[in-house]
Amino acid sequence: MTRSSRLAVAAFIAAFALLALLLAGQIPSRHVKGDPGPQALPIAVAALVLIGAVAAMIGETRPRSSGAEPWQQALGIGAGTVAFLLLLPVLGFVISAALFLIGASLYLDSRRRIGPATRLLTGVGFPLALWWIFSRLLDVSLPRGLMGF
């Protein structure tokens, strides 16, 4: 990660801590004698995070070596995961999981090492097997979606 990216992450943590600190200050102070109350720990740890994040931001202003690591593929898969999550209640587990698996493997397998038959078999077979294990064996109800499974 570049220095500016690390600085952005530290700034994000600082902003998160500041928001938490402001919200923690609004927690009603309801407590018995001796008890510091429900707002004490959130205020203390949010302040600690804020101080630490600001210190990290200052630290990032100093030059240090940084190795460039690839991340573009992770961005695509991350976006695919969010799409899978959004489709899950609409299409149901089996269809959305099959779409996610096939789509993500096509995205990652740019050299097409996996044949279409294997991809289809794994992409459909794995969600079906999981659906059977969870729904039938463990009695865990998975999102059904419009198709009913």
Binding site: M1, S5, R6, V9, A20, L23, A24, I27, P28, R30, H31, K33, G34, D35, P36, G37, P38, A40, L41, V45, A46, L48, V49, G52, A55, G59, R62, R64, E69, P70, Q72, Q73, A74, G76, I77, G78, G80, T81, V82, L85, L88, A97, F100, L101, A104, S105, L108, R113, I114, R119, T122, F126, P127, L130, F134, L138, V140, S141, L142, P143
Partner: protein, 497 residues
């Protein structure tokens, strides 16, 4: 002698043995599936036990418990996802071992370590129950608070290269643990009138996200290496006897750590495994190689997590105080069957206690046999096309999080934790302190406030009680040691603050 033989005779009955085996197999299966926890499996099987007698019921649950704890090492090693929180530390070296083509040794070593840990803690239960139960009573709110602070500071100081980032992550974990309804006053904190947020941020979805999804995104980013990751030679399946004997001290200390931490209600196996891992790192002649695929890094936490079972059952049976969440269904099974747990159980029904101890020994042996026998089947999972691995891990993680309560909320938390975990990891922030903060935050807060109510706000109690002072000193010592270490490295220009 007669109660001992009665207990042994009971466990050797075919029906009891069969139920233990059923529990084992189901347990390994549950442990191997990310998101399905031992606690969940035990709770799901509780209704089954109502139909059978009390001792068989407890034997079944013990089989399931040992199976689930041991089985959690399978996804930890093969996919980098701990099947249960108690397999957190198994990932550190288990996954790198699998990537070096040593998945067999890691999995075989994990099972053998679990077997040893389980047996040692069973022996502890047999030998020291009454005395250990008395010692656990020394832990009051002050000691529990200090234990949580010490665990967090030790982990924050040893995770990653930056003490500052470790502390920040630990504090974020504690902050996230405060989301939800305050148990002491009923006040809502950071809930924004959302009913799901009122139930808090679940540990398991965050853990699944930060271990499963973060790892999968990391693998996807390095997809050029993916083919190499999963198709290398597996190597031999078991560590050699010489390797195991060479780790006698690590095994012994890890089983002691596991039994002791397991004994302390609220501390839990996830604390024990991390402490055992760190201790193994200290003992090892090559600590710098930890995290790169050292067998000791798998053995230590696996000994400790199974040792926690025996340790955790001591206060459950002797004080009716479940040390771990997973012990709650076992306690419930006792009560359902009309058995009153407590110190009197050891004198009024000694054959019952001996039967349970023998059932634990049998469950240990059968878990070892079934998991070792099934290792090759589980390793076949590595033959899945490599570019399918990251999406498969994500799919299992989302499914595992969803299956906890049947809530999309948990799946959303897992995905959010996974994506944030990936970004934080890339920026050099260690994830373990955050997870431990989430685990220990509630205990830290409730014990601190309880102590404050008892003393009327006098904070000196944490340093005037010897055990509490000792624990805080251990945490402070770890911070200072890491600070000095980093200062030396910074002088050489090797690390950021």
């Amino acid at each position: 002698m007669e109660p001992l033989l009665q207990g042994l005779a009971f466990v050797l009955q075919p029906t009891t043995l069969l139920w233990i085996v059923v529990g084992d197999i189901v347990g390994i299966f549950i442990g191997a599936l990310p998101g399905l926890t031992a606690t969940m499996g035990l709770a799901l099987f509780l209704p089954v036990t109502i139909q059978i007698d009390s001792l068989t019921a407890i034997s079944l649950l013990l089989g399931l418990y040992f199976g689930a704890v041991t089985g959690a090492s399978i996804p930890a090693v093969l996919f980098g996802i701990p099947g249960n929180p108690n397999a957190i530390a198994t990932v550190f070296d288990g996954l790198p071992m699998a990537r070096k083509g040593q998945a067999g040794i890691a999995l075989g070593g994990a099972v053998i370590a679990s077997f040893i840990g389980g047996l040692m803690s069973t022996a502890a239960l047999l030998a020291a129950s009454p005395a250990l139960a008395r010692f656990s009573l020394l832990f009051g709110p002050a000691e529990y608070f200090s234990l949580a602070v010490a665990s967090l500071t030790i982990i924050a100081s040893v995770s990653g290269s930056s003490l500052l980032r470790g502390v920040v992550m630990g504090a974020i974990g504690v902050l996230l643990a405060t989301v939800g309804i305050d148990t002491m006053t009923g006040v809502r904190r950071f809930t924004f009138d959302n009913p799901f947020l009122a139930s808090g941020i679940g540990l398991v979805p965050v853990l699944i996200g930060m271990f499963g999804i973060t790892q999968a995104l990391d693998d996807a980013a390095r997809s050029r290496d993916l083919h190499q990751i999963v198709t290398q030679q597996l190597g031999r399946l078991f560590p050699s006897l010489r390797q195991l004997l060479g780790m006698w001290r690590i095994i012994l200390e890890s089983s002691w750590i596991g039994t002791f931490i397991g004994l302390l209600p609220g501390a839990g196996a996830s604390v024990a495994v991390v402490l055992a891992y760190e201790r193994a790192k200290q003992i090892s002649p090559r600590p710098e190689e930890f995290g790169t695929g050292r067998l000791e890094g798998v053995i230590a936490p696996e000994v400790a997590n199974n040792a926690c079972i025996g340790g955790g059952l001591i206060p459950t049976f002797t004080l009716a105080l479940p040390a771990e969440a997973a012990a709650v269904p076992i306690l419930a099974a006792l009560v359902i069957h009309g058995v009153t747990p407590g110190p009197l159980l050891f004198t009024s029904q000694p054959h019952f206690i001996y039967a349970i101890i023998f059932a634990m020994i049998v469950a240990n042996v059968t878990t070892c046999i079934f998991q070792l026998g099934g290792i090759r089947v589980f390793i076949k999972a590595l033959s899945v096309p490599p570019t399918l691995m990251p999406p498969l891990v994500i799919l299992l993680s989302v499914l595992g999080a969803y299956a906890l309560n049947g809530w999309m909320y948990d799946a959303v938390v897992a995905v959010a934790a996974g994506i944030l975990g990936f970004i934080l990891k890339r920026a050099g922030y260690p994830l373990i302190p955050l997870i431990l903060g989430l685990v220990l935050g509630p205990m830290m807060e409730s014990e601190f406030r309880r102590m404050m109510i008892i003393t009327g706000g006098d904070m000196t109690v944490f340093v005037t009680r010897p055990l509490s002072l000792l624990l805080l000193a251990a945490g402070a010592g770890s911070l200072i040691r890491q600070l000095v270490h980093q200062r030396r490295l910074a002088q050489r220009g090797a690390v950021s603050p």
